[in-house]
Symmetry: C2
Subunit: 351 residues, 2 copies
Amino acid sequence: MSGVYVVAAGMTPFRQHPDTAVHELARQAVWAAITSSGIDPEAIELAYAGHAYQGQCFGQKALLKIGITGMPIVNCENACASGASAVWGVYNAIKAGQADIGLALGAEKLSGRGGGFTPMVADDLESVMGRVMPAVFAMMARKHMERYGTTLEQMASVAVKNRRGGVLNPYSAWTENITIEEVLAAPMIAEPLTRLSCCPVSDGAAAVILASERVVRRLTGKPVAIRAAVMASGRRNDVGMADDNSEMTIRAARQAYEIAGIGPDEIDVCELHDPFTIAELVHCEDLGFCAPGEAGPLALGGHFDRDGAVAVSPSGGLLARGHPLGATGVAQIAELFWQLRGEAGDRQVPD
Amino acid sequence: MSGVYVVAAGMTPFRQHPDTAVHELARQAVWAAITSSGIDPEAIELAYAGHAYQGQCFGQKALLKIGITGMPIVNCENACASGASAVWGVYNAIKAGQADIGLALGAEKLSGRGGGFTPMVADDLESVMGRVMPAVFAMMARKHMERYGTTLEQMASVAVKNRRGGVLNPYSAWTENITIEEVLAAPMIAEPLTRLSCCPVSDGAAAVILASERVVRRLTGKPVAIRAAVMASGRRNDVGMADDNSEMTIRAARQAYEIAGIGPDEIDVCELHDPFTIAELVHCEDLGFCAPGEAGPLALGGHFDRDGAVAVSPSGGLLARGHPLGATGVAQIAELFWQLRGEAGDRQVPD
């Protein structure tokens, strides 16, 4: 079966944009992808829009205002994976022969929704009882500390590294570096996670354009091939509680390596899901970059730095760039597109 | 590229279920599809869940409670096309080689949301100004009447026919037949559409299981092949106002006929989108069953009856079965699955 390629990417800065409508953020991201690539917007044959909170038919409304109409448009919501699900939808549709050129758009406006974290759903008993994201990841951190001896300093070093990436990233919310001491001294959110151990609330949009084998050479001389696109979900309702690591992530990663025909030791650069510092450590282990329990010391030692063995989240990740839910997964693909083309500016991972 | 088949279907009755949670409706539909087919739930490798109003990660939550976990699950929202988009997502994923067996679930609980129609979005200026669905279709009706001489009786005959189908359908909300006179005398909703010209508010869920060429023969001796799966969206923001017919539907239908290698005259049975009587007439024209303007007289003459030239919505359609948004598109595929296997009971279209 023929390949699928990323041929263009665009993004807004990820930060609070209280005075900008989410449709306008979407327009900026899509238009950046189009103008940077010279791809004719009329050539886009289908779109997926990933978002969690932007209302009914968001993709249709946003793309109509951008002037891109007529093609299949599907909105998808998968919480923090909404944007990644949109990319996956476009990838599948192209591979299925529905289109040669497809757009994945992710957008979210969280500012002005009140509270410091993802808006809670009033009828979700678990949320109401306190099982909100910071609490879930705090439990994950406590378990990792107890089981493997992971330290507060090791976890804090993830925030320091990612902020360093964010400072170099014009799309990031933050512009100043931080120290381990500052992370540890920040206000406590959910023990042992301080405010600087958590991703900031932000708004933003990202877009990538995918193309089939058949047309890719007409569109760009520098396509980025997608060698595997794998999704998984959890097997039980206890993610982060019963397991030390994330069984679903381990399963998805193994499948992706198998399809791509490579191993974790061949990965040079990775964008992973780091809404909290502990998540990056756990996911580095899940992805096979090291054995369970080893990520903490390795992180503190610079193993995952931009010039380390594996550059993890050189963009600054969610911790520095922010995490507008629907936009995040698309932004990760956009960042990897730039990194693999050598177009990541000051945050470029060395060859 | 290899084919994709429908191998199982399940559905709840579509009616108001004020005391049944939407997750329970989903469970009933999925479980009906599984038990009627004997397919091992563990064999389901991915799922799309179509819904519009059931909250974040609805598919994950519903399938977790059903005991089907671990696989990719994507929630999709496309208003009235949410369910159809879910089927399309599963179709593409199977064709893309992501899975051999996939589940499309559609579910919606609208009762208890207040109002007689789809809940309005407070910040949607058009809705607030009165451009709600009954008004849009009332304008469509007025235009069709003016341009083609379509009569109130012709439109009412659609409701009478579909109610007749619904009375024979155990999944339908309604159990009594109606007359043209009753449709015309019912309370006016949006002139010229009376209450019996509009689909009832209802709750429900539907599920279909799709399979690849590779495994289909292992699963059933009576698969139903999907010869084409096409989506389109409108080119402008004036659907039902500037055009007499639906340009996007005409475009999608032509593309589907071309891919399948058949013409509209070869269609024996059709489930189409009939939230209001006028919609069925317009869509019969859009789908090429007759020329623009001809659907009214043909409908009144029985052309689209169960024993007519083309059996349109023998299930009773949205007008009789009801229209729980996310469930509708999946239910239409389920109905066609039963019709093409000769399993549609009293409402079976003759061979």
